[in-house]
């Protein structure tokens, strides 16, 4: 053992010394008697090693060349070229390597700022194509991890498959009661399979901070799409809004021990409908559930408590007794809550068919359907073209999941890369995923930029949304940007407009947007009642507030129909000035 160690020490000596003397030193070691002597020799070997390497550079090479045949019993590597770098060169090399190493580590850390807390989704199969999770999908296009930057929390749904996993809080965009009533009538297997059940809607709502408007809060849209989907005025052929309310509901799961939970199911036809009449006990359960959820989740805690008190007072006064019909009771409770809050997203929803407590996860077919739909619709990108005066124009009618559409959107942005100015047309954009907001915004900045925060009242947590590291070769970071808005611009599309406005990166042209800065969640109360509570709000780091209720004011107010022309003129003017 000691001998082996001593041999190793000898082997570590400079080759010149080693070749000439290692045999003899080993011979001496072999002649040493006893362990103490061997240990002394070991110590001597260590000192010798240090001495030869530090104080005898003149012997490293010279002696080695003189006695090349001396390394018989001591294994060593012999090189053909006796070249040996100068000590100074070796030290410089070490320093340089260390500097490069630290620089690389720093660069990696820098690029990981947005990735560290991200769970890469298990992306579902896209037709025959191989799976491309968010990061790789974007990497192939030179855009790093589109889905990643946006969601800094581990359970962030980045793709439909992830989004649809049962989560404690299932965000939804609440809809007015009248519309909700419509929703229930759509609960049919066909609707489920064709639209409501499509991963798009589910994923969108499943993504917590994903600001999906989808027109869900827009009665006209919803009704139009419901009555005739093929003639939907919106060019976006994605699952229509009528399905959203149902879909959002599917993915929730039981919430907590208070009885408040988060499931509103799509119900097959063969499920026995609920008797419409209500007794006092059930009303009591529903009111208690509503109070618990309001107190726990509503974004404004004070208002939540006030509404809870109001509900309790109404119940005590006997105001609820008249409502023996489930649907009427839901409308009544909704009205009671809104009387105080004027929050049109707050809503009690009644479903005649029971809401499952554990909704099934989306099937691979549904996920594939969504991907196919995205392929067919080119990820809702309606136009990506160069207008006169080399002004880029991108009209897209949704912010789809970046983990699925990152490539296509990146391609669209690449096609506009040489434009001198760029116009984003969000006039028909109902929102979508925050990760796509961050991905597109990435092209407009030359460094990772903080877009906004998502505050979740129920979890008392705040998540940040940042743009990604700059896209290599991108030329749009310093080009003038115009965003077209309308009163149909919803949710994530409003977020995109608002963020760019706050950052003074874009000129907004058009109408004030719809004003949706909160995201709601469906919480199951019992088999037939679900309450939708806005529980997540966007907080812009610059304004420290959001556009909830007020909408995003454009910089240049014109009718939405004239917004493009106006923006073009403004862009031309700006380009001429430059």
């Amino acid at each position: 053992m000691l001998r082996s160690f001593y041999r190793c020490l000898l082997r570590l000596h400079p080759s010149g010394f080693r070749k000439r003397f290692a045999d003899e030193m080993l011979s001496i070691f072999d002649h040493s008697a006893g362990k103490p002597a061997a240990v002394r020799l070991l110590m001597d070997g260590v000192v010798s090693l240090a001495r030869q390497w530090t104080l005898r550079p003149e012997f490293w090479r010279e002696v080695a060349a003189a006695q090349p045949a001396a390394c018989d019993s001591v294994p060593s590597f012999c090189t053909l070229d006796p070249f040996r770098p100068r000590t100074g060169a070796v030290i410089q090399g070490l320093l340089l390597s260390a500097v490069l190493f630290f620089l690389t580590c720093f660069a990696i850390r820098y690029s990981w700022i947005h990735v560290l807390h991200v769970r890469i989704p298990e992306a579902p199969r896209e037709s025959q194509l191989p799976i491309r999770p968010a990061s790789s999908d974007s990497a192939s296009t030179g855009v790093a991890g589109p889905a990643v930057a946006v969601r800094s929390e581990g359970n962030a749904p980045l793709s439909p498959s992830v989004a649809l996993r049962p989560s404690h809080n299932t965000p939804v965009q609440p809809t007015p009661p009248a519309v909700a009533t419509q929703d229930r009538t759509v609960q049919s297997p066909s609707a489920h399979s064709s639209t409501a059940g499509s991963p798009q809607s589910q994923a969108t709502f499943g993504a917590r901070p994903a600001m999906e408007g989808s027109g869900a809060g827009h009665p006209e849209r919803r009704l139009a799409s419901k009555s005739d989907r093929t003639n939907h005025p919106q060019s976006n052929p994605l699952p229509d809004q009528s399905g959203n309310a149902q879909v959002e509901v599917q993915q929730a799961k039981p919430q907590d021990a208070t009885g408040a939970s988060a499931v509103i199911p799509v119900t097959p036809r063969d499920v026995k409908p609920h008797a419409a009449t209500l007794d006092a006990a059930e009303r009591q359960v529903v009111v208690n559930g509503a109070i618990a959820n309001l107190t726990k989740y509503y974004v404004n805690p004070d208002l939540g408590s006030q509404m809870a008190d109001a509900l309790r007072a109404h119940e005590k006064n006997g105001d609820d007794d008249a409502a023996t019909d489930g649907e009427a009771f839901a409308v009544l409770l909704t009205q009671q809550m809104r009387d105080l809050s004027h929050d049109r997203y707050l809503m009690m929803v009644y479903s005649a068919v029971p809401n499952p407590e554990n909704p099934p996860a989306p099937s691979p077919e549904e996920v594939a359907l969504y991907r196919k739909e995205m392929e067919r619709t080119n990820c809702s990108i309606e136009k990506a073209e160069i207008l006169p005066h080399n002004i880029g124009y991108l009209k897209f009618n949704r912010f789809p999941d970046a983990s699925i559409c990152g490539t296509r959107v990146a391609a669209a942005m690449a096609s506009l890369n040489h434009a001198d100015a760029i116009i984003f047309d969000l006039r028909d954009n109902p929102g979508g995923y925050a990760n796509m907001v961050a991905l597109i915004a990435t092209y407009l900045f030359d460094r990772p930029t903080h877009l906004n925060d998502f505050y979740n009242r129920g979890e008392n947590s705040t998540e940040q949304s940042w743009t990604l590291p700059p896209v290599p070769g991108n030329r749009l970071a310093d080009k003038p940007v115009f965003v077209l808005t309308s009163n149909s611009t919803f949710s994530a599309a409003e977020g995109f407009s608002y963020d760019l406005k706050m950052l003074k990166r874009a000129t907004l042209v058009g109408e004030t947007t719809s004003g949706r800065g909160h995201m709601g969640m469906g919480h199951r109360i019992d088999d037939h009642f679900t309450i939708r509570v806005p529980g997540v709000k966007v907080i812009n780091p610059i304004s420290n507030t959001n556009w909830e209720g007020t909408g995003v004011e454009p910089d240049v107010k014109v009718r939405s129909a004239e917004a493009l022309k106006t923006a073009q003129k403004l862009a031309e003017k700006k380009l001429q000035q430059n």
Partner: protein
């Protein structure tokens, strides 16, 4: 004394002992170590690292010559070393120098004694 030898003076204890041990006969490294221990009556123990480091320098300066292996030796790995004439001259010069030092030291000590008394 001449310039050639003066350049090497004074010798370090290890070098002095090595040259001294080779003055009588050719020795291999282990033999040198044993001889050094004998000369100093065990007070100075030369490790192989120090020994070969010094031998390396002595060979380079041509104070010692490497003879190579001897076929009949107990251990074929051993190589023998011999003192060159230059080495012998350096040893002689160092011996003279040390003699002067010793003489001077004794003189000083004798002068110093009465004072202390």
């Amino acid at each position: 004394m001449n310039d050639d030898t003066d350049n090497f003076l004074p010798l370090s204890p290890a070098t002095l002992h090595i040259l001294l041990s080779l003055a009588a006969e050719d020795l291999h490294g282990y033999g040198i170590m044993q001889e050094v221990a004998r000369q100093s009556e065990g007070k100075y123990k030369l490790g192989p690292g120090t020994l070969y480091d010094n031998l390396q320098k002595l060979i380079q300066h041509k104070l010692v010559q490497e003879l190579g292996r001897r076929p009949g030796d107990d251990d074929p790995r051993r190589r023998y070393y011999r003192l060159t004439s230059l080495g012998r001259g350096v040893l002689a010069a160092e011996t003279d120098r040390l003699g002067d030092v010793v003489r001077e030291a004794r003189l000083r000590l004798q002068i110093a004694k009465p004072r202390r008394a």
